[in-house]
Amino acid sequence: MTDSTDARTATTDAWQPSTIELERRSFRRRQTGRSVLVSIASTLAIAALLVWALVGSPGWTRVVETFFDPQVAIASLPRVLEGFWLNIQVLFFASIGVVLVALLLATLRTLRGPVFFPLRALAAGYTDIFRGMPVLIVLYLVGFGLPGLDFFPRMPVAFWGTIALILTYSAYVSEVFRAGIEAVHPSQRLAARSLGLSHGQTMRRVVLPQALRKVTPALMNDFVAMQKDVGLISVLGAVDAVRAAQIETAHFFNFTPYVVAGLLFVLLAWPMIRFTDWVSARMRAREQVGSIV
């Protein structure tokens, strides 16, 4: 009953591509070369058109002065950066909170049996409410409402901002998790239970790991969305990048600090966006390989 592994590697060593294959390859190379040239030419043409339209517009010099002043940019950068550090901290804690709460919600919604009805209903109500409500309103309600109860110890506004973001985004992310859990074939659950694993063990060791893999691109997308929305905590008065930019703008009578803050957010999100694209593309490629065999 032993398998010989030699048989399948034997033929690959001495192989030389045939003349037909060589001809096909040189054709593909020529084809690629031509499309690269075409794309360079069209990119240049469109860029030239854009520059001409922008620079040629009557208000161009005024816009450059009020939005792209290098001196103001440099002068405001330290303050804006300092505020941006707060954004990053909020993002860090909010991300952890979102994953934990969303996992809890998603698991609650998959519980079966009448005992769990209240928990299921609660989780369903929660996701319905916080997916429907605008983030800004959640921020106001949490940021000004909850401290007003005088029930919690005094906390910085950034804390309440973080809570608000967790409330909103965990509702979205729990739906993503739930979709992933439901996408795991029931036979996997069956196989795990047949081995004697409990419901919880099956969930943790078999269902969730597979579910997470399936929804990774969607999760990263939500993460990128939240990266931008951490800027909204400025409405509570937290001195984050947006708020700092606002202060600097008033100080210099110039809008450049906003552009600086905006660029910082883009820089933060950019690696994640590229990474998300890369992961999705890789998964797509893998699925295609799977569908051929």
């Binding site: 009953m1 032993t2 398998d3 592994t5 036979s187 996997q188 069956l190 196989a191 795990a192 239970r193 047949s194 081995l195 004697g196 694993l197 409990s198 063990q201 060791r205 078999v206 790991p209 597979q210 893999r213 799977g290």
Partner: protein, 248 residues
């Protein structure tokens, strides 16, 4: 566990209906230790349902299922603990795709039977080596052929030394040339004295390996006989019809 001499598995009047479709209609069946019982019958006769009820994946509407003399159909029993004592292999191999072959094989030992990782892996590697899959221990299941996956699934089911092994058409999802290797593994388990109940469409194999053959039709046991007698001199007219259809 009182029944050292009694049957490993005993079914008494087991009944299961889906709506008004009666799928198991009063099944009585005894399986002794080290016995290999083949369940045969046409599609829809209730073989899979029967195996699922024994594994407590399907609830029964009436009757009793006794494992080593204890009623496991009692709702007060710890179903997870019972399932941990029974090995099951399905038609579709159902290996966990996110775990390596070795982790698949050792998962239940580690989580359910609380065997240490080193000990579980030693035993797992030993089992994989015995079926010629040692080289694939760290690979993921999708790298394996269908026959290799099914053999790994069988090894996963026996890694915890279950008291009873249930096999549900373990070869019917396989290409014909892969069937042999899986059947050879089942045969070697039978030779080693594993108690097996298997639903199968492989009549030649049932005749060869099973001690007893049980013919199920529309949820009833029509004939329950030693394998030789079942195939050579079936008592029931319906069994004969079934067998001629298979030979055709």
């Amino acid at each position: 566990m009182s029944g050292a001499t009694g049957p490993v598995l005993r079914l008494r009047g087991v009944r299961r209906a889906f709506g008004d479709h009666l799928v198991l209609d009063g099944i009585d069946l005894d399986v002794a230790a080290h016995e290999v019982v083949a369940l045969v019958g046409s599609s829809g006769s209730g073989k899979s349902t029967l195996l699922r009820t024994v594994n407590l994946i399907e609830r029964i509407d009436d009757g009793e299922i006794l494992l080593q003399g204890r009623d496991i159909s009692d709702p007060r029993i710890d179903a997870d603990a019972v399932r941990a004592r029974i090995g099951v292999v399905f038609q579709h191999y159902n290996l966990f795709p996110h775990l390596s072959v070795l982790d698949n094989v050792t998962l239940a030992s580690r989580l359910v039977h609380r065997v240490g990782r080193a000990e579980a892996e030693r035993r797992g590697l030993e089992l994989l080596a015995s079926i010629g899959l040692a080289d694939f221990a760290r690979a993921f299941p999708d790298r394996l052929s269908g026959g290799q996956q099914q053999r790994a699934a069988i090894v996963r089911a026996i890694a915890t030394d279950p008291e009873l092994l249930l096999l549900d058409e373990v070869t019917s999802a396989l290409d014909p040339e892969l069937v042999g290797e899986v059947l050879a593994l089942v045969r070697s388990l039978a030779d080693r004295g594993t108690t097996i109940v298997m639903a199968t469409h492989e009549m030649a194999f049932a005749r060869d390996v099973a001690d007893r053959v049980v013919f199920l039709d529309a949820g009833r046991i029509i004939e329950d006989a030693p394998a030789r007698q079942f195939f050579e001199a079936p008592r029931e007219e319906r069994t004969r019809e079934f067998l001629t259809r298979f030979r055709a």
